[in-house]
């Protein structure tokens, strides 16, 4: 009797895993160019994005994951606000070629030239979120798809970017090509995963939150 029930549960487990595996199985996309075009159309319609985000940095060296959460705001053209709320309040505002960092109330301003790496990384992130980066030619792209999403692997072409990132894995929502997940891999193999939730497209955002004056 005991043997039968064990067998039943093992069979059930195998069947469930098989179903899950089929649902999440990713297969190569036949025509990525077509999808890049569709993503571009979506990004053209996107004037603003507001979203919550959760960030997780895996550090194998320390054998731990560091997490933070916050709010993301994007407004065309080139206005971006990353607002970390936990573990402490830290804001990065990118407004055209100017950067403002507010670290627990302390404000520091930079121009793009003095902090190029920061601008590059922030530019990549905003370009990924609004879809324009896929057309920029800065990365070699590989597309896969599964139920509900596309997985895009981006490998940087530029040397400077390669110093920081070995690749970026994107999870794009199939309905609107918006970014659900952004996973940035460093050369060591460690990654930073940013998950976007409660996305709101084209809603009005107060202009002053991008203020750098």
């Amino acid at each position: 009797m005991k043997y039968r029930s064990t067998l039943f549960f093992v069979s059930l487990l195998i069947t469930s895993l098989s179903v899950i595996s089929q649902e999440t199985a990713e297969r190569p996309v036949d025509d990525p160019a077509k999808l890049i075009e569709q993503a571009s159309l979506f990004s053209q319609k996107t004037q603003s994005i507001t979203s919550d985000f959760a960030q997780e940095k895996e550090m194998s060296f320390l054998e731990e994951k560091v997490t933070s959460t916050g709010k993301f705001y994007f407004q065309k053209e080139n206005r971006l606000r990353w607002e970390y709320l936990k573990p402490y309040h830290y804001v990065i505002i990118l407004n055209n070629n100017r950067i403002r960092i507010i670290d627990e109330g302390e404000v520091k301003d930079y121009d793009a030239g003095s902090n190029r790496m920061f601008v590059e990384i922030s530019g990549v992130m905003s370009g990924l979120v609004d879809g324009t980066l896929l057309q920029s030619g800065q990365f070699d792209q590989t597309w896969h798809e599964a139920a509900g999403y596309y997985r895009v692997i981006l490998v940087p072409r530029e040397t400077m970017m390669k110093d920081y990132l070995s690749r970026i894995a994107l999870k794009l929502n199939k309905q609107d090509f918006s970014v659900d997940e952004l996973k940035m891999f460093e050369k060591s193999g460690d990654y930073t995963l940013i998950t976007f939730r409660n996305k709101k497209m084209n809603e009005a955002i107060a202009a002053d939150i991008f203020n750098v004056d």
């Binding site: 940095k57 731990e64 560091v66 920061f118 460093e186 460690d190």
Partner: protein
């Protein structure tokens, strides 16, 4: 009575901070938490510290979080990264190692210069081993802060905030 007790304890804190800070060269400690944390770092009586960190050197400044882990065998693992998750430095510090104290695992091109890394190693030496007995700096004793600042003669500064 309450007020005099408060004044008395504040003066004791200030004197304590000044005494600790003057004892260690190139070091400034601000606030009681900083004194406590520095003491734990110097004698290895901690498991993990999560700090805000800033390194300034020759008009360059790198800021972010620094996590220091004590693995219990006299080795400290250090990770320094910015808010976006980009790693500036991953290294292990071996106090008292005969040749090289700082073993680099990963370093950003912005820090990857022999002089900068040597300065970084010296700063960690001050942090984990209580300094080299030279280069005494002035000390701020504001009690509502919690900062540890190590400044070397060449201007290299490691600033940690609890």
């Amino acid at each position: 009575m309450k007020r005099s007790l408060l004044t008395y304890s504040t003066w004791i804190s200030i004197l304590l901070l000044a005494a600790v800070s003057c004892k260690t060269p190139g070091l400034a400690l601000s606030g009681r938490k900083a004194v406590k944390a520095y003491s734990a770092l110097a004698d290895g009586s901690f498991d993990r510290m999560d700090l805000k960190a800033r390194i300034s050197y020759k008009e360059k400044e790198l800021a972010g979080r620094m996590i220091i882990k004590n693995d219990g065998s006299g080795l400290y693992r250090i990770a320094f990264f910015n808010e976006l998750g980009m790693t500036w430095l991953e290294a292990a510090y071996h106090p008292g190692h005969p040749k090289k104290n700082l073993m680099i695992r990963q370093v950003s091109p912005l820090l990857n210069h022999p002089k900068t890394l040597k300065s970084l190693e010296k700063s960690f030496q001050h942090l984990f081993e209580g300094g080299t007995g030279k280069n005494t700096k002035t000390t701020e004793t504001t009690v509502d802060k919690s900062d540890i600042t190590i400044k070397l003669n060449n201007g290299f500064t490691l600033h940690l905030q609890l």
